[in-house]
């Protein structure tokens, strides 16, 4: 049963029906009990008022309604057990009875019997129990019939109330139906039942986050497309120059440039993918305990050829045997440190040095990359983390994404990045909370 309206209706009506039935039963038994007391009293009175003279006429009983009297059977015996009187011969009543009240079962149903000694005779008055039950049942029915008649009315009322109670949900549904990925305004919070308000607020919260995520994705795609144009333009120019080349040497030079252009475009695409994977909303690998020192050693061995090519001294300073554990995604942390070291190497003139060092304090774990390059002026230190931001006069060709990726990964790990001056050069310090 999927409809709330249906379910409420069925459960409420079933509950009411049960309640009415219970009330009916209660009334029945209560009435029966009272009828028993009353009728027993009548029986006693009746027995006392009967004439003891066996041969006298039977006087009409003075108590009870006519039909009740009709049902009464009177027997009288003398001391020796000889039946003196039987008001309705042929009835299957016991011929002798104990004194006092008793209930017997005969072929005509249950009977209530009262026997008493009146002078020298035994007087017995019997009445069928059926009478009392009919009285109680009649009473119970009269009480519950009006309630039963009310049930359909209640059903209609429940149907209408539940329907109007759920109407705000229909409004929300149709308002949500109007939302498109291009337009995700918040739902109106106007008058509504307090039960529905949390739903609307949660939906508005979700809509807001969704709109922001979509907006950031759209910007990212637009930026990425824009940035891809530059290497593609270079590639197209070089292809045309290669086509036009008149000598073998010219052609070879053009092809060398072309290869460079293509490797640059591939680098940009790789960085874009890395960034997309590190976006805060992207699916993530579960965090595990990783050792920053181990990651640093791996990154340095990967970057060593580039450093050698540029004649840059690259190494880990300080104690490199100590493990520096943090909780996180090892692969992402490797990408992060890789970008930092790669940047340091690219922005350091030949003959310089790039040092990576690790530090663990009570509650922080730090990794520091210092170079002997030209550094980043104070005014640029915020903006270098923006996507595609290139500093004024920076000659080195990069994707403009390296530090944006670093920032994303650091943010995901709750790490803080600080840039400051080395002597000379730039020192980047990434500080992680200890697990």
């Amino acid at each position: 049963m999927k409809s709330i309206r249906h379910r409420l209706l069925v459960w409420l009506l079933s509950g009411l029906t049960l309640a009415v039935a219970a009330a009916g039963l209660r009334i029945y038994f209560q009435t029966l009990e009272e009828a028993n007391a009353l009728f027993d009293f009548h029986l006693k009175q009746m027995a006392a008022s009967l004439p003891s003279d066996a041969f006298g006429p039977v006087p009409p009983p003075s108590l009870g309604a006519r039909d009740l009297q009709d049902q009464l059977i009177v027997q009288i015996w003398d001391r020796t057990g000889v039946q003196l009187y039987f008001s309705r011969p042929g009835s299957n009543l016991p011929q002798r009875a104990e004194l006092g009240f008793s209930t017997v079962i005969t072929q005509q149903g249950r009977w209530r019997i009262y026997s008493a000694m009146e002078r020298n005779n035994v007087v017995q008055v019997a009445q069928p129990m059926r009478l009392r039950q009919a009285l109680a049942a009649g009473m119970a029915l009269r009480s519950i019939v009006p309630l039963l008649l009310l049930l359909p009315v209640l059903a209609v009322l429940i149907w209408i109330t539940v329907g109007s109670g759920l109407r705000p949900l229909n409004r929300i549904a149709s308002a949500l139906g109007e939302r498109t990925p291009q337009s995700l305004p918040a739902l109106e919070e106007g008058p509504m039942p307090i039960e529905v308000r949390p739903l609307v607020q949660a939906l508005n919260d979700l809509l807001g986050r969704l709109a922001r995520a979509l907006e950031s994705q759209r910007n990212f795609v637009a930026d990425a497309a824009h940035e891809l144009r530059t290497p593609l333009t270079a590639v197209q120019l070089q292809i045309q120059l290669a086509e036009r080349a008149e000598s073998e040497a010219e052609r070879r030079a053009a092809f060398t440039d072309l290869k460079q252009g293509i490797s640059r475009a591939s680098h940009l695409v790789r960085q874009l993918l890395t960034l997309a994977r590190q976006e805060p909303d992207a699916a993530q690998r579960p965090d595990v305990e990783v050792d920053l020192a181990e990651i640093a050693r791996r990154v340095l061995s990967e970057q060593a050829p580039l450093a050698a090519e540029r004649n840059i001294e690259l190494g880990i300073t300080g104690d490199d045997d100590v493990a520096v554990p943090v909780r996180g995604d090892g692969e992402a942390l490797r990408v992060m440190l890789g970008n930092l070291v790669d940047n340091a190497i690219r922005y350091t003139p030949g003959g310089g040095a790039v040092d990576v060092s690790l530090r663990a304090t009570q509650d922080r774990a730090e990794i520091i990359v210092a170079d002997t390059g030209s550094g980043i002026p104070e005014s640029d230190r915020e903006r270098v983390f923006d996507r595609f931001y290139r500093r004024d006069g920076s000659e080195t060709q990069g994707s403009g994404l390296g530090l944006a990726i670093v920032k994303n990964i650091a943010d995901r790990h709750g790490a803080v990045i600080a840039l400051d001056d080395a002597e000379p050069g730039l020192r980047v310090r990434v500080s992680f909370p200890r697990p």
Binding site: T233, L237, R244, D257
Partner: protein
């Protein structure tokens, strides 16, 4: 014809410079907005190729201040910004044409030729002076319908003179139109080219104005 290219990306800058030189243009290349402004102040350029996303001073700002100072040099914007609003803004701020990256080298040179033609007040892509016909797009020259073979420099010199018939251009001005910064100019090259052109097109085609320079007379 001498062009100033403002482009911060080394690969694109190098590629455009090479490609346009092959078309016979002298091309100077600077990589940022401030250097562009210094170069423009020399006032030797026939056309400016301007990238918008420049470090230092943005291309739009360079263009705006150029027009504010009353400089009417034709400007072709070369940019990756392809939104209609960007193109409209670029043209409204004073650009003469707008080319979105990545572009085709052929299209770039065609647009450059069109802008230069418009600048000298011609609509006809072919220049006709007396019995000499000159086609800047194909670099073909005809003398009375007979093709004349010219070297790239000879053609560039002829084009510079024929572009403004009747105007006298000094040797220095001609050198500026023929050579970019990095190119070596020998002291008597202009004379050598003029001599060779006269031999191919007739002695009277290029006149010498003593102490001033050279000119191609307007066709009568």
């Amino acid at each position: 014809m001498r062009l100033l290219l403002v482009e911060d990306d080394p690969m694109i800058g190098e590629g455009v410079r090479k490609g346009l030189r092959q078309e016979g243009f002298a091309v100077d290349w600077v990589q940022d907005g401030r250097a562009a402004e210094r170069a423009i102040d020399n006032d030797v350029y026939d056309l400016l190729l301007l990238d918008l996303g420049l470090p230092g001073k943005d291309g739009i700002d360079v263009l705006a201040s150029l027009r504010r100072r009353g400089n009417a040099i034709p400007v072709l914007i070369l940019t990756a910004r392809d939104a209609v609003s960007d193109r409209v803004k670029g043209l409204d701020i004073g650009a003469d044409d707008y080319l979105v990256k990545p572009f085709d080298l052929e299209e770039l040179s065609a647009r450059v030729r069109a802008l230069l033609r418009r600048k000298s007040g011609r609509a006809d892509p072919v220049i006709q002076i007396g019995n000499v016909t000159l086609n800047p797009a194909t670099h073909e020259v005809f003398l009375d319908a007979n093709p004349v073979a010219l070297s790239a420099r000879e053609f560039a010199l002829l084009h510079a003179l024929a572009d403004r018939p009747g105007a006298v251009l000094s040797r220095a001005q001609l050198e500026e139109k023929l050579y970019g910064w990095s190119e070596e100019v020998e002291s008597n090259t202009i004379e050598v080219y003029v001599h060779s052109l006269r031999r191919k097109l007739g002695q009277d085609f290029i006149r010498n104005v003593r102490g001033v320079g050279y000119m191609v007379p307007k066709s009568s």
